[in-house]
Every structure is written in C-alpha cells, then in structure tokens.
Symmetry: D2
Subunit: 313 residues, 4 copies
Amino acid sequence: MNTIGNIFRFTDFGESHGAAVGGVIDGCPSGISIDMAAVRHDLDRRAGRTCLFSVSERAKAEPDEVEFLSGITDGVTLGTPIAFIIRNRDARPEDYEALRDTFRRGHADMTYQLKYGIRDYRGGGRASARETAARVVAGAIAKQILLEKGISIVAKLVQIGADVLAEDITVETEYIQSLQQLQEQGDSIGGIVSCTIHGLPVGIGEPVFDKLQARLAYAAMSINACKGFEYGSGFGGVDKTGSQLNPFSGGALGGISDGTDFCFRCVFKPTPSIAKEVKGRHDVCIALRTPVIVEAMAAITLTDLYFEYMARK
Amino acid sequence: MNTIGNIFRFTDFGESHGAAVGGVIDGCPSGISIDMAAVRHDLDRRAGRTCLFSVSERAKAEPDEVEFLSGITDGVTLGTPIAFIIRNRDARPEDYEALRDTFRRGHADMTYQLKYGIRDYRGGGRASARETAARVVAGAIAKQILLEKGISIVAKLVQIGADVLAEDITVETEYIQSLQQLQEQGDSIGGIVSCTIHGLPVGIGEPVFDKLQARLAYAAMSINACKGFEYGSGFGGVDKTGSQLNPFSGGALGGISDGTDFCFRCVFKPTPSIAKEVKGRHDVCIALRTPVIVEAMAAITLTDLYFEYMARK
Amino acid sequence: MNTIGNIFRFTDFGESHGAAVGGVIDGCPSGISIDMAAVRHDLDRRAGRTCLFSVSERAKAEPDEVEFLSGITDGVTLGTPIAFIIRNRDARPEDYEALRDTFRRGHADMTYQLKYGIRDYRGGGRASARETAARVVAGAIAKQILLEKGISIVAKLVQIGADVLAEDITVETEYIQSLQQLQEQGDSIGGIVSCTIHGLPVGIGEPVFDKLQARLAYAAMSINACKGFEYGSGFGGVDKTGSQLNPFSGGALGGISDGTDFCFRCVFKPTPSIAKEVKGRHDVCIALRTPVIVEAMAAITLTDLYFEYMARK
Amino acid sequence: MNTIGNIFRFTDFGESHGAAVGGVIDGCPSGISIDMAAVRHDLDRRAGRTCLFSVSERAKAEPDEVEFLSGITDGVTLGTPIAFIIRNRDARPEDYEALRDTFRRGHADMTYQLKYGIRDYRGGGRASARETAARVVAGAIAKQILLEKGISIVAKLVQIGADVLAEDITVETEYIQSLQQLQEQGDSIGGIVSCTIHGLPVGIGEPVFDKLQARLAYAAMSINACKGFEYGSGFGGVDKTGSQLNPFSGGALGGISDGTDFCFRCVFKPTPSIAKEVKGRHDVCIALRTPVIVEAMAAITLTDLYFEYMARK
C-alpha cells in the first residue's frame, strides 16, 4: 500500500492538490546528523531545478520546502519516527477545471475513479508525480545512512528516445535542441536511467523472495511511468551463451550481493499528459527528473536490506 | 525472506539435497476443490516432462510427488494453512563431490558461503532451481482460486537466444536442432518468457508502492536467473513519443488494473552451470522450464492483490 | 514499531515537545463522510475535558486542534492515506529544565537514553502520553467505519484504586473527593477500564496467532501504563471449574468472534510522575483519561480484522 | 494469521487429525548447533510426560517424534528456513464420531464452522491443543538462540484453582489429590502460569506499538484457553499509589527492557471438554501443560525483538 520496507519503513501520503505531501520514516537509527542541504539538493533535482534543459520555469523560481515534524532534534535523529511535510503551493486550478468530467489518456484518472468511486479531479491526486517529492526526502536520508556504511548510489539518465547519451554532459547540447523541438510540437519522449550501487558488502539480499534484484525491481517499478527494470546482462543478454556471460554477475548471485558494483536500468515512458491533448504544465521527458527518484527508491530498499543483514550478523 | 504475500501468503522451504522441498499456503479460502491433476501437470511442466525438447531423461521417468499435510480434507480446502512437501529423490552426490571446495562460476555458491558461513556443497542448496517446485505447487492452487474469479494466466517462451519463436509451436523443429547443437557443445542460451493475465477486474493493485506492475516485478525477479522485467511498452518503447504510446496502457494505469489484458515479459540468462565447466546434469536453456514458474509467481501475487482489493470493497 | 495493522494500518509519530504529533491512516475505504465533531469529542475525552473531575485546567481552556493533510476532500475519504497533525502548543519547558540530567522514576527516560543514546529531556518525548492523541484521532475514524457495519465499542472506567464504580456516574461524588485528597497529597492511583464490543459478526479473528483476543491484547498493552489485559472469565475465573464456565465464552471461541458481546478489561498503573517527586503537571489517576484510548486501539484493531475477514469472504 | 514475527518468523500448520502438524522457522541464524534432546524434552513437557500428575497414559507410552526437513545439516543450522513435521498418530476417531453433527460447548467447533463453512469434525482441527506441539519445537530452537545471548526463559505453574502452589514442588502431593478428585468427577479447573525472562539486555522492545509487554501479551494470548496477561504490578496493583509502585518497573519502562528480570503471568481457563459432557481424552487442568508453551511463545517473540534490536545497533 503506502508503506515500503520491513525494518526501515517509509510511509508516504498526500495528493497533488491537497494541503501537503509528506511521509514518515520509521526505523532510522538515532544519532545521525542530517545534512539538510543534501535533502534540499535532491528536491531541487526532482523539481528539475538542476537540469540544463529547463523543465519548469515555476520550479526554478520556488523550491519545495520541507518541514520536519518529529524524530529530529537539533539536526540529529532521535531513533523515533521522522515525519515531514511539503506544503502544496497554490496550483493553477483553472488549468484543471476542464478535467472535472474527462479522463486524461494514459493517466490514472479512470482507474482511480473506478477503484475508489471518487477522485480529486484537480490533478493527478495520489497518482501525480508530486507524490515522488516525499520519496526523495526519505531517499536523501537513506542515502546519508548508507554513506556512513560506505555505500553510495548514483543514478543518471543514459538514453533519451533512441539517443544514447555521452558520458560527458557538456556535449549534450544537441539533445537539448531535440527536446526543445519536441516541446514546441507539444509532444514527449521516453528515457532510460542507469543506477550504480557501489560499496555494498557481500551478503545483502534475503533469499528466496527478498533477493536484492527482486526488492530493487519492486521499488523501481513503483515509480510512475517506469515500464521496465533490468540488471546485469538484462534483456540485451538474451542472445549470449552461458560461456560468454558466466564471468559477469551484475552484482548479485542467488539474490545476494557479491561485492562488485550492482547496476540496474529502468525505462520510463513519455509523459502521458502532452500539450497536444491536455492544457497545463507538462514535462517533455519525465525521465530527466527521475534519476533522483530512482536513487531514493534504491536507497530506501538497501537501507532496509542492510538492517535485515545486520540483524542476525 | 522466504514468505511472499500479505493476505494470501506463501512460505517456501527446502534445500535441493535435503530431505524435501515444500511450502505453506496461508490465507487460502475454504471450500475450494483442489484439482490435483492440474497441480501434477504444472510440476511436470517445470520438470520439463511436457517439453518437445527433452531437458532431462531422468525427469521423464520419475515425476515429482507432492504430499499435502494439512489444510485439505477430501480434496477440499479448510481455510487453514495448506502445507505440502516434495521429497527429494536420491541425487547423484558423486557428481557434486568435486564441488566441496570449489565455487561454480555464475552460481550462488560463493555468496551463500560468505553470507551464512556454511553451505550445502552437494548442490545449489537453497539457491537451486529445485526450490521452484514448491512455488509451482502454490501457484497451481492460486491459479485455481483465480480461475473461479474469471482470471487466467498464461506464460510462454517467446524467444530463445536471438530467435523469436513462432506462435505455432509445431514449426519449432529448427530451434530444437539449434538447442541440440548447443547441448553437444556443452553450452547454454538465454530466453524471454511472455505472460498474459486475462480477466482482471478494474481496480487490482494498491497505490503507491504496491502497484500491480511493482508487485509482479518483485515476484518475477525473485525467480532464479531472471535478469529483467518489463510490461506495456517496456524497454522497446523508449524511442516512442507520448502521442504514439498514449492509446496503449499495458493493462494498468497508476498501478491499478484497467480492465484490459496485462502483459509482461521476463528475460532469463543462460544456465550458469555448463557441461564445459561443471560435471553434472545441466539445462541447455533454463527458460524452457520457466513459463510455469512465471505463471506461479504471477498467480500468487494476484491472489494476494485480489483479496486486498476485496477487503475494502 | 510505529505502525499497527495489516490491511488497515495506522502509523503514529511525534514527540511531546517537538513540532507536532500525528499519524497516517492507510487502508481507509473511500466515500466515508468523516464526522469531525466526533473526532474532536474523542480528543476532548482524552484531554480530560469531559471529565467531572478536572484533570487539567489548561486542557479545559484549549482543545487540541487536528489538521488533516491528505486523504479527505470535502469531508469525504478518498481511499488514499489520511495524514493528520496536532501541533504541540508551547509547553512549559522551565518545568522540565531540571530533568536535563536526571531520570524520573517509573518513566522511560532511562530506557530511551540507553536504547537510543539520545533523548528529548524536555518531556516524555515519544514515551509521553501526548502520543496517544494521534491514536485517538485514528480510533475515532476507525469507530466511524465500524459503526457503518453495525459494530460499536464502548469503554469506561470501572474501578479506581480498590473502589469499584457504580454504573450511575452521578453518584460518583465520593470518588472525586478521594481523588482530590490524593492530588493534595501529591500522589496518584491506578484504575481498571472495561471495554465492550457490540455487534461483531461471527467470524472475526484469524487463527492461530491473530486470534481476536491476541490482537486486542497487543493493542491494549501498547498503551502507556497498561499493566494487564483479560477477557471473559479472566484472572478472576481461575478458581472456577469447567462445568461452571462452559456456558460463558467471553465473546470468542478459538480466537474467532462468536456473535456475543466481546468484553475485555485493562488495568492501568498510577501515574509514575507524582508531584511528591517531580515538578510539573501530573494526573492523579491516568486511568480517568484512558477509556477513549482503549476504544481507539480496539477500533483500529477490529477494523483491520474486519477487512481481513471480508477479504476472502 | 499463521505466521508470527517480523525478522524471526514462525509459520505453523496442521490439524489435529490430519497427516501432521508442523512449522517453518525463518530467520534463524546459521551455524547454530541444535540440541535435539532439548527439543524432545520440551515436547515431553507439553505432552505431560514430565508431570507428576499423569495427564495422559497414552502420551507416557509414545513420545511425539519430530522430523526436520530443511535448514539443518549435520545438526547445524544453514540460515535457511527450518521446516519440521510431527506426524499425527492414529487417533481414536470413534471417540469423535458422535461429534459429527454436534458442537461441543466452550470449543471452537461452532465458530470454525461458521467462519469457514467447513470443519474437521473428528477433533479440534486447527483449534486443537495439538497445534501447540509445533510452537514448542520452534520455541525450543528460539530458546537455544537466546541462551547463546545469555537470555533464559522459565515458566511454571503457580496456581491451580484457588490454590497458590509452593515453590518446592515435592510438597505438592495435596494438589495432585484434588486434581484426581476433579478427574473422577469428570470436571476441570483453571490455573496461572508465571514466566520470568532473565538476562535481557537494556533496549529490547520497539516503541510505540511493539512494546515488549505488548508483543509478549499478543504471543501469550494466542495460546488456547489463555484468558489474561499481566506483568509488573498487574491487576493486583490497581489499589496501590504511585509512591508505592514507582520503585518497581516489572522489567520494562516505555515498552523497553530496563535490565531487570521481566515477569509476566497468564491465566488459563479450565479445559472446556469435560468428561461429564463429552466422551474422549480430557485434561483435568490444561494449565499443567502450558508452561512450556508460554516459554515457547515468549522465546519466539524475544528472538524476533532481539534481532530487531541488533539490526540498527
């Protein structure tokens, strides 16, 4: 439902046009100094404020502000639940008024209406990408916990549409041009995010159902617009033989980390709301903002599996 | 760990060379007549006994026998936990004696040893594909529960190596020949399994973390050798635009089933144990046997989500 | 930890002297009109505002104000997580300054300090009775869900110290006098709360561990100062014979409700903070305020078990 | 349902007159040498074979035999699920034939029938005391894990009917006489079991819902015939004042162990099947056999809480 994790648990709440989105982090150890600048930086990444390609003029002007309500005193965790909220700023309800009686194509409007018999027509409600802001806050804290153990997580966009991006981001100007072109056409495009986990000790992942890759797939596939997950040889490895692939584990064997870097990739579909069809603010490529969300979900999952591993050690 | 599910739960146990593998199904409704022939047929599919290409001479001769210990009286479920075991037949320990002090490449031998400080060197132990027999029994029962609700699940192998298989299985003789060739070379190859869920009512899947696709990805990625999961437009859709993809949901919107068929695909790597390297019985293409396991994991997951959906209805 | 329930889940957060206490209710059905006056009334009961015997001058003046942040639109539930907060008003930190380096007897100061290596010395922190305000809000909503199913829960104080209270509360003046006497002496006293659940259908409670009485005992014993739980014949029935007790079930058989009223009793110890020892505001009899908390915990538990029962029905 | 615990989990199955009862222990650390004699001794205690007062001629003759199916090799745990079964011996179905169409008073026959629409009329089925044999096996293993950490659990019968038992069991002959008298009358009587946990480090128990006493109450109240749980000052302390009770914690403050012995007491009602009413084998005082079950449930719970405590340490 709206809680993820077993020992390190994150509960997430909030509609896009309600009072606030937020969450509760339970199972955070005590005595950790929280780097609030790092939390804000991750929120900025999610809002597209750090992006070369400007995804939102509005986000550039006004950062999301997070208020911590419990679990932290003088910047240090107490070991008790960390609750936080991000107030929703006044949205432009006039953009959504037209949606009162229509279901946007490719959106969850219809399934929410049919499942619950009610929905907040003013926006995506619970299905809105706004909800991921809370994940990013929890993820930023989880990354800090992991960093103390020597574990780092870095995700980046590696493909936009058919174009595989170069390692050197400074030469990306051509992709920015093609994104601008798509934006002018009122259309959108998909992308692939790659994530590398470095510094995992051997032994993380709980056979047989809580395999490292199974838990990470669950976490990643819970992100809006994510349509696939692969690790190691992935889908591209289908035509390789056993003798070709054996030297390469992808970071886990039997669902347990093997001490090498764990790498996985997620594909995101194009933003379903497109200006051609629906009035309002739309991302030309939702994948531009997702690396920080992928990092967050991986971090929440790994923190939980790390504590599970320590429990019986 | 070794339990999957929330309301409909499956707990799985057993090492490949221990006394038995088996499981406990908790949360099965009472009053369901279990079709034991269907359970046996699924076990035969997993053992490769129904395969045109003979994966195991031994399996052909001796089917797995399942004994139900509780939860069923006169073939009807009581609503109490259904425990079952499949005794392991005498394996050929002489094949494995050489492995006492070696770790097989691409296998979980090393990670189990390092995680637990002990392992059953006689075989894959808990990481063996043998463990999936218990999943298949639980899945066969879950499929019967779902069938009563009008939900059917069918998985099939759609690609071996680079070859996309024809719909008509009778023209597959050429693939059999290339598999025989690989087997003679002592090598192995990967494959892709496609799974279609038909008859799901609108509303299955629990936002935001227990999205339909997230729970199915978790279940599928927990199968040995599975390296990737995708649904709907998947990885192949990365270069499509929003206007091209919008009419196509893939079966879920916002993580909630939308009343259309839900289709997903899983890729399986080649068997890591190959005759070139390790003495013993090895599958030339593990993906040949996995469709029934994919069905089982999907069925266990959907039964749980179905009951979750009914709980508050 | 800080979440209770399986299908209907309540997550609770907040320190007594932090920004707020609050909670997240997950799994509440959509379309329920929330009676906010009933929520406020229960908060008033918890604060002692409805008590004949004045437990707190301050509470009388200023009621707790709850703000709902998500999951409710126009007073109706959306089926999404209901988050709420109750801001802590400015406490009197000067009362607590003396406690910076001392541990109050009978309080959790020491165990929190030793478990977490840190604590909020300004008050009980997470162990404070203030935390129960969030339980009461969740309980008030759970009681409304149950009431729609015909299930009602009523708890009341039945014993103060050695004195068994009369049914007719108007004749209680003598107990008020003895409480006033204790208060003047700077001491405190225990009490027993009785709770009756009426209208439960047959079949609530999940064998074998989630027996109705086991889940209710867990919920009740998680309330601060609760030292015991009993139902049916309870401790007093120890000297009865089988032939004497058999006609009387207490509301459940085999852990499953049997259609009769389920009655249980909880004992609360005297407030450990007493004016004799610690400066500050102290309750002379904490049990005076606990009936509404007992109702809340019973309601949260029963709503969860009710949905569990419906899931497979 | 039929699984208890979060990190250290026990799943229990089996009807009294089915093929077997048994269980699966998940989360047991690897490398623990299991003392099988201790397991058998606890099974003997449960069967009444160690009792001065003979509860069952049949139990005396034939001990329960447990078969371990997985998770243990050469007497040492592998870190994988430990599955075990105890085959049911041929019961005397003729004793039960008369019960096909009747519900025994004070038994779960009726509630099971109404909840599930089906029941195994030949005995208590899942509600039978026979199910506790599986708990005792899991508990014996949990006690061995805890003993390695310096934690011991001892439960004993302290009251039969109105009679408080002496510490020195050799002077109990008079109680044996009164039990024999009750047995001749075909009646039964209740009892109180006291349990002491020694050696718990400070810090066990997770606020706010998983308080040490809440989890122990849940575990104890899930035992058949248990009607009440109390710790510390308990029900008897209701008439004490704060100044009298403060020096005495009962082993936990704020739900967290404080380093002193934790003591709790459970009351068991008389066996509801009495020879006056129902033909068959009946215990005159079920509480005689329950101390080992109380120990088991406490041990399973504490092992789980201990690992939870270690996870973030």
